[in-house]
């Protein structure tokens, strides 16, 4: 079973990279750009048939390693 995990900085946390990319795109003429936040993307395959169980495993992976809950949020999607 395959999942995707998207990790982004929490809404109010400063995202220096996103900010610089945003300014550059603006300079390149993308004037209707409103905002950009940069994040990380993981594709995770789990040996498990029970979707609920698998999702819980991914959730545990996120909270134990992939995500720093103090500054980051994450979303899990089944692929």
């Amino acid at each position: 079973m395959k999942f995707s995990v998207t990790v982004t900085l929490k809404k109010d946390v400063l995202d220096p990279q996103g900010k610089v990319v945003e300014n550059t795109l603006d300079n390149l003429g993308f004037k209707n750009l409103k905002s950009i936040r940069q994040g990380k993307f993981f594709e995770i395959e789990i040996n498990e048939n029970d979707q609920e169980k698998a999702k819980n495993t991914v959730k545990e992976m996120c909270e134990k390693l992939l995500v720093n809950l103090i500054i980051e949020d994450y979303k899990i999607n089944k692929l």
């Binding site: 900085l9 929490k10 809404k11 109010d12 946390v13 400063l14 995202d15 220096p16 900010k19 610089v20 300014n23 720093n68 103090i70 500054i71």
Partner: protein, 726 residues
């Protein structure tokens, strides 16, 4: 909104402190005002538990231009050159988010230095982790090291020296102390004292977000039931923006536009504005709707307490606004006049023309609480160590055990992650007793080192305090620098605990004695209390950062042996003090006992004579003897070179271990050419300095005659294994 007991408590204020606030205001504060009081009156800003003790430290000498109380200390190194430096802790944030915590620690201390008009030229750090076996240590180590490197490398300031230690006392509370050193023109130092009425107060740098609003996050969760998302309290560092801020500030500082400038560090806009007004005995009025914000709907409370990084507050001379604005615009940074100085001696906060808060400046600064906390003397009567019946250990095995231990292993795994060369003035990189940085375009240099000895300080705080100052002094001398002044970062546990407060008081006593005797004043520093958990406080860990001057560069001096057939002389007397030694810890797991005593007179005499010998070009290499004792220091001189030493045991030797592993203080090893031996011995004798001629350098092998002989290559391997395998 009513200020309840709970709100007061969540702002970290005691009931008595709240009463004092009401008395000073002659009314109840509103939430914004309460937040401001809590920020200004907390330990970090007010030094309320430490102030009466810090006052005892010597802070003046003929070289001191500015002592404690400004953003950083300033010393005179001649020819209109000044060195600006300070050390600061970022312990708690680094435990929660090691990369960002360490990175913002570096960023913060750099701002303290360039705020004063100095271009930063070197970074140092002292980092302490829990036991290597503790499950968190490895990731904390990785995160902190890459955070320190990430910030320093990116902004382009060399990280040149530091120390990394492991001890289980830091399992739940690591220490991350960062030191920055900058160079300024003596007649172009900038201070934080406001002057003049109706001057523009300018906000420059990054925008303000909801970073680090501790009180706010908790308080607002109470008040606003719709707020599900917990607001962030960890700041994210942006070294790129800081680089721009650094260049923009230094560009503006070339002329006379700036009256006062202050970094927005802890308690951000609050402490920077209050400090500038307080020092100038003025008032300050801010229009908060003008503050550049990163998020929508930020409240005055959040703006005043935000700890967003990479921001400064500047008070400008009349008519300089446009000139200054153009500079910040060039560097793509925000520049907004957000207020003015007044004669009201009040902090007045307006939002859309409505007054949201009004506090007398004195109430926040001068009238902040000061505590003379109860403290107890260290009880040493129970220390009773019997070392008579220790199992005998082979000399070489003991040496190997120490050289391969986490605390003594070669740290290049760490230092290779820091750019040490950028700016092209690093004459000596990490790994020596002290790093050497040349003053740009001149033929003089400074030496820098950071040191701590938590084990010594725990077992006997006065001796420990003395010892670290001396060790730091010795490290600078070993590279040929005349020690000028220090900065200190005082990491301790909970000051409301009288034993902890005792450790603090007594460590400071030791630091004071040593600094006074060695004429080595304290010019800046930082106190970090409440390190530890509810149950356990950390070992007292004062960290000393020293700066010394090399007034004429010849060849940088280090501890590496230069060639074979030279004499190795041990300067200073060996008594064989094993208690609190590395030898007992690594071989027998014994951590009790008294630390070695420092004789300040010997310390000074020995140090001065070494400097004299170096000055007369009589020394090929020099090394101070510290943790691990004589044999470890000798091996350190060999490891990393092609040369070893043939060491003769003294004739009337009591105990091998005591002689080779005792941690007696005030000792140096020097490598000297045969042809200079007689003149050196004469100088030492004439000055009543105790010394022993203990060995001769040779190719390839490190040996103690009749005991062991080992290839240098092998020692190198032993010393370099731990980090790479961890």
């Amino acid at each position: 909104m009513e200020i309840t007991k709970k709100i007061i408590e969540k702002h970290g204020l005691k009931e008595s402190e709240f009463k004092k606030i009401k008395k000073l205001l002659k009314r109840n504060p509103n939430l914004l005002e309460l937040g401001i009081f809590s920020a200004m009156w907390n330990e970090h800003c007010s030094y309320k538990s430490s102030r009466i003790h810090l006052k005892k430290l010597p802070t003046k000498s003929k070289n001191v231009i500015q002592g404690p109380g400004e953003n950083a200390g300033v010393i005179d190194i001649g020819d209109n050159d000044a060195i600006v430096f300070k050390i600061e802790s970022h312990n708690h944030p680094s435990y929660i988010e090691p990369y960002q915590g360490a990175a913002t620690g570096v960023g913060g201390i750099l701002r303290d230095v360039f705020t004063m008009g100095a271009r930063p030229i070197a970074l140092l750090n002292s980092i302490h982790f829990g036991s290597p076996d503790h499950y968190k240590t490895k990731s904390l180590l990785n995160g902190v090291v890459s955070g320190i490197g990430g910030y320093g490398n990116c902004i382009g300031i060399p990280t040149v020296a530091g120390e990394t230690k492991f001890n289980e006392t830091y399992n739940e509370n690591i220490l991350v102390n960062a030191m920055a050193v900058g160079h300024a023109k003596k007649n172009k130092i900038f201070y934080s004292k406001a002057k003049g009425l109706n001057k523009s107060v300018v906000y420059v740098g990054s925008k303000t977000g909801r970073d680090g609003i501790h009180g706010a996050s908790m308080a607002s969760a109470e008040f606003d039931k719709n707020t599900e998302e917990k607001k962030p309290t960890v700041q994210v560092g942006d070294p790129f923006t800081e680089k721009l801020l650094l260049e923009a500030c230094l560009e503006l500082m070339k002329d006379d536009s700036i009256i006062a400038i202050q970094d927005m560090g802890a308690a951000g806009l609050t402490s920077s504005s209050v400090e500038m007004a307080s020092k100038g005995s003025l008032g300050i009025e801010l229009d908060l709707e003008k503050v550049p914000c990163r998020e929508n709907n930020m409240t005055p409370y959040e703006m005043m307490l935000s700890e967003s990084q990479e921001r400064m507050l500047i008070i400008l001379e009349d008519g300089k606004e446009n000139y200054a604005k153009d500079i910040f615009k060039k560097w793509d940074l925000d520049f907004v006049v957000i207020g003015k100085t007044t004669d009201t001696k009040k902090l007045v906060l307006k939002y859309n023309n409505e007054i949201k808060g009004e506090i007398p400046i004195e109430a926040l600064a001068l009238n902040a609480p000061i505590y003379d906390r109860e403290w107890s003397k260290k009880d040493i009567s129970k220390i009773n160590l019997n070392l008579k019946n220790l199992k005998k250990i082979n000399l070489l095995d003991s040496l190997i055990k120490i050289l391969s231990s986490p605390n003594h292993s070669n740290k290049s795994w760490i230092t290779n992650q820091y750019d040490q060369m950028v700016m092209c003035d690093t004459l000596q990189r990490s790994g020596s007793d002290a790093a050497i940085i040349r003053i740009h375009n001149k033929d003089k240099a400074i030496a820098v080192s950071v040191d701590s000895s938590a084990n010594y300080c725990r077992s006997h705080p006065i001796s420990g305090g003395k010892q670290i100052v001396c060790e730091n002094w010795r490290n600078l001398i070993s590279v040929g620098a005349k020690p000028i002044a220090i900065t200190n970062c005082l990491n301790f546990g909970n000051p409301e605990n009288k034993e902890v407060m005792g450790e603090f008081t007594e460590c400071l006593q030791g630091i004071k004695e040593a600094c006074e005797y060695l004429e080595y004043p304290v010019v800046s520093g930082n106190v970090s209390f409440y390190n530890g958990t509810n149950k356990k406080n950390i070992y007292p860990t004062p960290v000393i950062g020293g700066v010394g001057l090399i007034s004429k560069i010849s060849k940088p001096l280090n501890h590496n042996i230069k060639s074979n057939d030279n004499h190795i002389i041990l300067v200073g007397k060996t008594f064989g003090h094993l208690e609190q030694s590395c030898f007992l810890k690594e071989n027998y797991s014994i951590i009790d006992g008294m630390p070695p005593q420092v004789n300040l007179q010997n310390e000074k005499n020995n140090g001065e004579i070494i400097l004299k010998l170096i000055g007369e070009n009589l020394i090929l290499s020099a090394h101070d003897i510290s943790s691990g004792g004589l044999l470890v220091a000798l091996s350190e001189m060999s490891i990393g070179t092609k040369f070893g030493i043939k060491i003769e045991k003294p004739k009337n030797l009591g105990s091998l271990s005591e002689y080779f592993f005792g941690e007696d203080q005030s000792r140096y090893l020097i490598e000297v050419d045969k042809n200079n031996l007689a003149s050196i011995e004469k100088i030492l004798k004439d000055n009543n300095i105790f010394f022993e001629n203990i060995g001769i350098t040779q190719n390839e092998y490190f040996e103690v005659v009749d005991e062991f002989k080992i290839k240098i290559k092998e020692l190198y391997k032993i010393n370099n294994e731990w980090y790479n395998k961890y």
